[in-house]
Amino acid sequence: MQKRRINRIYRRVTLSRVLQISALMLAIFLVLSIISLAIGSVPIGLGRVLLSLSDAFTGGNSLSSQENLIIFSVRLPRIIFAGIIGASLSLGGVVFQALLRNPLADPYVLGISGGSALGAIIGILIGAGSFYLGVPMLAFLGALFTVFLVFIVSGGSRGALLDNSLLLSGVVVNAFFSAAILFFLSIANSMELHSITFWLMGDLSRASIKEIGVAAGVLFIGFVLLYRQALKLNLIAHGEETALQLGVHVERTRQWILIVTSLITAVAVSFAGIIGFVGIMVPHMMRLVFGSDHRLLMPASVLFGASFLVVADTVARVVLAPAELPVGVITALCGAPYFIFLLKRKGN
């Protein structure tokens, strides 16, 4: 029986190919972002958006101040923020998947998002929202605490860091956090409840310029640090023993990558809430198109993740306009069917 080979054509990963694909995907991101600038509850034509962008460079003033306000103060920050969060979650997903050699691993499965959510909810309930960065700070602490907990439970301190125990402890930690979140939800008043619900489903609408700057900085530094490990990630993804045999100090590399990735994820989740499926879906799609080499897979996932979340958030903004949906609803609505499709195809 002839095996059914549904392969893409193999192409070598070279520096010039990585640069070409990154440039192409960056261009796609920019085009989508500009289109997204024109879409919203207040209609502004694409032509006028382009005009306003060229004004920004030439110092012209051809749009009304209301239009300028909507484009530059409302939509643009949100699009940039969506891009950064999408990129961070995708980067987290692609790295965790390689690290744990499990295509289903991502920050949510490991419990990092749950810990972050718990921190945020406690923050909302104790009124930390009245302080600058109060809630995100607690969310961040929750995420870090989870990483620490998962690490200890899985024996990370002894250097074991076995992939299955890490995933399993993530599941256990997640179950505990879900119960705690439900408990807090049941004692919250209705105003707090609204705020918590939005946070639990992912919310990109409230980012301040400072938060965007912090998230962008963390993403940039984190990407540079992780990209240095891309070759080692290839070998670890292929197999731990292979990586050891081929010269990777697996334990040290894993711990370092785990710390950096957890930080990126914790920052993203603490600012944007829980946005599911991006971290699983984006790396998976990119692997289908570009293969498993992380030197190409990482930049491709980061840029595609940015585009993906910008599109998802645009849909979330307009589908019930003038009301807005949490973006997590949209990502889950595409993510779940994608997975059913994947599982069904695998089953054949």
Binding site: K3, R5, N7, I9, Y10, R12, V13, T14, L15, A98, R101, N102, P103, Y227, R228, Q229, L231, K232, N234, L235, A237, H238, G239, E241, T242, L244, Q245, L246, G247, V248, H249, R287, G291, S292, D293, R295
Partner: protein
């Protein structure tokens, strides 16, 4: 001084003693077979030579330097391993797998250059795998995958090659091709080969020296004629065997008597 030198190596795993005060030495350009029953510590010994496991007590010296003092990368430049089976969940292509063998020679940011591709392709030519360079590794047959792994080990350009049952999935043609390749590398480049096998005749025909392990101890060590005897086989494997001379090579030949 021997290239690989084990001194009083003891290794235990979850309370079970696997290697028990075991000493041995392997010289440069030797071809050494490690044989012994299941659970006698063969694979453990390979992993200790490769520094993946460290002995509970005792020392393993490569080039007169303890493996714990080598960096992983330096060790990977000196020693290549062909594992038993190596499946990955992620879709890699055969050429990518072979290029992984170049990792110890690359920097962190690096991409493979022309020289790396040339070395990888020579390795693939020698193992008859060039034809499926652009095929998915996980969709190859077991024998084809094994040849890809052999190519990866060759691409490492090692001084020492460790083989763990690396011929079991190969058909006769590729087995012969691989064994003669090993001979040639051994002669031309002074490659030291250490292989673990269950095939007594393979060990006898192709090894300069044989280490016969028996419950973590070195039961016999020496050239094939010294180690492959009916008495040793009876004692270690608990089977009756006829050992005579292979009419072609004059080396010991074993036939199971059942």
């Amino acid at each position: 001084m021997s290239l690989i030198c084990g001194r009083n190596i003891t290794f235990s795993y979850t309370g079970r003693l696997i290697l028990d005060d075991f000493s041995f030495a392997i010289d440069e350009a030797q071809v050494v077979a490690i044989i012994g029953p299941n659970g006698s510590g063969k694979t453990t010994l390979l992993k200790i030579i490769n520094g993946i496991l460290s002995p509970v007590s005792g020392q393993l010296l490569i080039d007169n330097k303890d493996t714990s003092q080598w960096s992983r990368r330096e060790l990977a430049k000196a020693i290549a391993v062909v594992p038993q089976e190596n499946l990955s969940i992620f879709p890699f292509y055969a050429e990518e797998i072979v290029l992984m063998g170049r990792f110890p020679h690359l920097g962190n940011y690096s991409f493979e250059d022309k020289k790396d591709y040339r070395i990888a392709h020579e390795a693939m030519e020698k193992t008859d795998t060039l034809a499926f360079a652009a095929c998915r590794y996980d969709q190859l047959s077991a024998g084809e995958r094994q040849r890809v792994l052999i190519a990866r080990a060759l691409a490492q350009e090692p001084k020492i090659l460790l083989l763990d049952e690396s011929t079991v999935f190969l058909d006769l043609k590729h087995q012969a091709q691989f064994l003669s390749l090993l001979r040639q590398l051994n002669k031309a480049q002074k490659l030291t080969v250490v292989f673990v096998t269950h095939d007594i005749n393979l060990a006898s025909q192709h090894a300069d020296r044989i280490i016969l392990l028996y419950s973590g101890k070195n039961y016999a060590i020496g050239n094939p004629a010294e180690v492959i005897t009916a008495a040793n086989i009876k004692e270690v494997y608990d089977v009756d065997a006829l050992v005579d001379k292979n009419p072609h090579s004059g080396l010991p030949r074993m036939t199971l008597l059942t």
